[in-house]
Amino acid sequence: MDTLKLPTQKTERSTNGRVPGPHGSDSPPSCASSGAGFSRQAARDPVLETRNLCVTYRGRGTSQPDRQAVKDLTLAVRRGEVFGFLGPNGAGKTTTMNVLLGFINASSGSASLFGTDVREPIARQRIGYLPELTYYYKFLSAEELLRFYARIFKIPRGERSRRIDGVLKLVDLEQARMRQIKTYSKGMQQRVGLAQALINDPELLILDEPTSGLDPIGRMRVREVIQRLKNEGKTVFFSSHELGEVETVCDRVAILHQGELKVEGRVSELARQHQCSLEQLFLKVIGYAARPSN
């Protein structure tokens, strides 16, 4: 597949307390140039952007003080990138995703998808989202669920069946399409989740720990789908604790710790700059020190 070389673009960023990635972590993404009017300008425009994003959860009374879950987060993910959003539990990854999806409002700062404020429902027209834990209407079959979501995306009636066939084939659920979701295994439910995230042929996929709780085969399938989307030039923004997986599929990563962005950059260049693997860098950033063995 041809690769489009793009000039480096500097974007406004906060560098508070974080290790900068090489080349200001703005190295060009490698994107598929396969048709669809994929222009250089379009590739430079951030698909997902946060500027000085802060989220504070209000405490209850004096015993539970306010908690700042995300602090001054500035990120830009460009078209065609696979972006890994990393951090230990409680780092603020899911909170950031919740802001991006309009579930919660930012305390300050801004977030946009395709240049549209995330609070506008239209901003979600071109995205697919897979939550960490997949729960769908158990009384519906996979086909009914996908038909329902396709209707919300206003996919024309004639097109719906073709899309549903396509995504069910992609996630290997054609045989079980008419069965109610309550009869599915966990892996199958995760694949339904992936199918619903892809039903609108999204330009941006937001995946919250997509391989969480899956067996090795399930993980492999999800990884294959991400790889396939990457090859198709889609933008993928996902959080994961599987650093090996992130290293394999991601173009760029960001590591969040206690709500703050600590590291951001291309995977290969971060490894070269810090002379360590992504896992070692991750542990270093979060200040993990191995206990001496007796």
Binding site: L101, Q125, L130, Y135, F139, A197
Partner: protein
């Protein structure tokens, strides 16, 4: 509207795929059939008592279906986390609420059609008379009343976190209005100021659900009421349902979902 109808469709599917409706329908049918098979005191007009009890069963069952179905909609979406992939779509919270309302209301309408058809068949078998217009008016006003109750329960489901608390409060409020609502102004007359004004204010504030109860038309085979009266009552009910829905939308828009 497309999104609202899509959500309503899922709510209706949920109702007919769950067992609640079937259990209530079979229970009502059994009570009515047993009552119809017995001829108490060799009274020719016993059919009126039979109709009264059957209609009471239908009212109670319809309220149970309306309140329990509505009260769990949003809390179960949050608890089961189905709300997250749904709101990640280009769907506003207002559309979601309106879809839930429409779905619950239509589902209750379908349940009412089943109940009234069964009741009509049973009554006709004993009376050989079927006043279709009275059934239509009673059914329509009953359905409008359920619309007010559903909108109220939907608002409650956003205020009270536990569906059980919301269900209980809705039942208590609806029972209070149906049983005592019409007497509040008379009670107020005997009270000193300022309690009189407060109670009068309360009397005019609450939705008078008892206005929609025209079971007597069917029980006593009275002639149908004027359609203009029906129309005004429908507008009155829809205005209250709209007020509750607007309040629910305002509450839901401010609510953080996490």
């Amino acid at each position: 509207m497309n999104n609202i109808f899509a959500i309503a469709g899922v709510v209706i599917k949920e109702l007919y795929r769950r067992k609640d409706f079937y259990v209530l329908f079979i229970l009502t049918a059994l009570i009515c059939l047993v009552m119809a098979s017995v001829n108490f005191f060799n009274d020719d007009k016993i059919v009126r008592y039979l109709k009264e009890i059957c209609l009471l069963c239908i009212w109670i069952c319809s309220l149970v279906i309306a309140i329990t179905t509505t009260a769990r909609q949003i809390p179960s979406e949050r608890e089961n986390r189905t709300l997250f992939p749904l709101l990640a779509k280009p769907l506003t919270r207002t559309q979601l609420l309106l879809g839930k309302f429409l779905g619950c209301w239509l589902a209750c309408g379908l349940a009412l059609v089943c109940f009234y058809t069964f009741f009509g068949a049973l009554a006709a078998s004993r009376e050989h008379h079927w006043p279709l217009l009275s059934y239509l008016q009673a059914g329509t006003l009953h359905w409008v009343m359920l619309g007010v109750v559903i909108a109220f329960a939907l608002l409650g489901s956003l205020i009270f976190s536990a569906p059980s608390a919301n269900t209980t409060i809705c039942f208590v409020v609806v029972a209070f209005i149906l049983l005592l609502g019409r007497h509040l102004n008379k009670v107020a007359l005997h009270l000193p100021e300022p309690r009189r004004s407060v109670l009068y204010g309360f009397y005019y504030l609450i939705p008078h659900l008892e206005l929609f109860d025209v079971r007597d038309l069917i029980i006593h085979n009275w002639p149908p009421i004027a359609w203009t009266v029906c129309g005004v009552a429908t507008l009155y009910g829809l205005a209250y349902a709209a007020a509750f829905l607007i309040s629910a939308c305002l509450v839901f828009r401010r609510k953080a979902i996490n």
